[in-house]
Amino acid sequence: MRKKLEGNGLWESSRMMLPEHKAAIIRHTESLKRRERVQLDEQEWEHVSRAVSESLQRRQPITVRLFHPMELLTVIGIVDRVDELKGRFMVDGEWFPIADIEGAALEESL
């Protein structure tokens, strides 16, 4: 009962929403959050490949930003392998697609 006086309580307790309408709103909100792929230009690719090879050769921790339709996805770790033929790279034993890379930076070593 107390909740009626707090936050959005008055309006949440009094509204009339069809479940189907609610579901449609949630689907719409989700679609707004959907992210577009970022296109990298040549210079950015060069930066990424330099960071990746640095990590691979000198066992430096790296932060790679990857594309995900709904959320911000970053992979942090050391690049173990790069498989150009299959277009993927491995960080700490897990494979990720190279095509999904949106950016990369070496962790600042202390």
Binding site: K4, L5, G7, W11, H21, A24, I25, H28
Partner: protein, 423 residues
């Protein structure tokens, strides 16, 4: 500390929403009286929405179809298309979202907008509202009215009492205007005050919203405690705040994503059901729907509630009871077993017009308690995964239980509807 900038909140309301959408879809009916009405063959045959021309002829919302036709024989009756109305409502939401990201749908035809941050780009609140109003009319054919105020309650109040009645469809209500506007109105015009509450206020000597607003809160609490007992303090404060236009609730766009506390379905039957077998049939169908929705959201419910309402409106009968099951579940057969127990224990044997089932006390369904007595659970879960997938793909009517084919079954009919009206 710098004083926070005053908010500007709008409540935008669509005029005769269903009827306006139908008129936009049928330009040939533009200048004729039109009403959207439930199925004339069933008890739900009432006017859901009437266009302004029909209203001029005296047609009112919620009256019986026959009564409306008696007043206005040339009335064009259109069957509802709920899915279309939901689509149009979302188109309107998207238009509002072009002007502010703070949009909160309050019902299918009312939405809150917080435009505080947008006014820098669009000028005064009235100018912005007029701009949105014109755009929605052009794009959807729906006329919108805007109540504008520094918070949600004043926006809602401004819309219901003034914007809906003036020529521009816009009204700004600020606290300094309350004494000349809202406070002169009778209590019955106040948001959340129904006919019963209005009567109670009358008995307390409170006739206008201004009198309610001027009553000290402590005194109002004492007055209401005398009528409703000690638990009425919160309602007293609620009414007092509404009367004074005090409301700090934010416009919350994500409000519909919050996890629900209960999932339930209720339906009015096409005729009164008088035998246990018949009531059990709809009970099973409703339980199936409720469990299906829980499964799609990944919840299991611990508490089942069943409500039945008697057929005689003048002598209300029926019950609404709940019980805790041994373990949380979203398996239809398990929830149904508990629902039938409730029905058998509490049904008084009188004809029933309305049945409802709901599940609450949710837990996530990724792990569950093994039971010695329910050896079939794994099997049922596999079966329901399959039937849910079929329904998802081909519609709710694609696969049904055999009882739904009996005369009492409603699932087939219900699958064609949203909110009790045709899709």
């Amino acid at each position: 500390m710098k004083h926070a900038r005053e908010r500007v909140v709008m409540l935008a309301d669509c005029q005769s929403f269903y009827a306006s959408v139908e008129k936009a879809e049928h330009p040939e009916y533009k200048d004729r009286p039109l009403a959207v009405a439930g199925d004339p063959k069933r008890r739900s045959g009432i006017i859901l929405a009437a266009c302004p021309i029909a209203k001029e002829h005296g047609v009112t919302t919620a009256e019986r179809l026959g009564d409306a036709l008696a007043k206005c024989p040339e009335l064009i009756i259109v069957q509802p298309r709920m899915a279309l109305y939901i689509d149009v409502s979302l188109i309107i939401t998207r238009i509002y979202q072009c002007y502010t990201d703070l949009v909160e749908p309050y019902s299918i035809d009312e939405q809150f907008l917080d435009v505080t941050g947008s006014l820098r780009l669009y000028g005064s609140p009235e100018e912005l509202a007029a701009l949105i109003q014109a755009r929605i009319l052009a794009e959807t054919g729906v006329y919108t009215r805007f109540g504008i105020g520094p918070n949600k309650i004043l926006a809602k109040t401004a819309c219901d009492n003034y914007a809906k009645k003036n020529d521009t469809g816009l009204f700004v209500l600020t606290p300094d205007k309350l004494a000349d506007t809202l406070w002169t109105l009778p209590v019955s015009k106040m948001f959340m005050a129904g006919s019963r509450m209005t009567r109670h206020f009358g008995a307390m000597g409170i006739e206008t919203i201004g009198q309610l607003a001027a009553t000290p809160l402590d005194k109002l609490k004492t007055l209401m405690r005398r009528k409703f007992g000690r638990n009425s303090d919160i309602n007293a404060e609620l009414y007092w705040r509404i009367a004074n236009g005090i409301d700090d609730s934010p416009v919350t766009p994500g409000t519909h994503e919050a996890a629900p506390q209960t999932i339930g379905h209720m339906m009015t039957l096409p005729r009164d059901y008088a035998t246990l077998e018949e009531i059990k049939t709809v009970l099973l169908e409703l339980t199936e729907l409720v469990c299906q929705r829980c499964r799609s959201k990944g919840y299991m419910g611990h508490v089942v509630s069943v409500a039945c309402m008697g057929a005689d409106f003048d002598r209300p009968t029926g019950f609404s009871r709940q019980m805790k099951m041994d373990d949380p579940t979203n398996v239809t057969n398990q929830a149904y077993r508990a629902a039938v127990q409730l029905l058998q224990r509490h049904w008084d044997g009188l004809p029933v017009r309305k049945v409802g089932v709901s599940l609450s006390g949710f837990a996530a369904d990724d792990e569950y308690q093994l039971s010695l007595f329910d050896q079939n659970r794994e099997k049922w879960m596999a079966l329901e995964r399959a039937t849910d997938a079929i329904k998802q793909k081909y519609g709710d009517a694609s696969i049904l239980r055999a009882v739904s084919a009996t005369e009492a079954g409603q699932a087939l009919d219900r699958s064609k509807k949203i909110g009790g009206h045709y899709k």
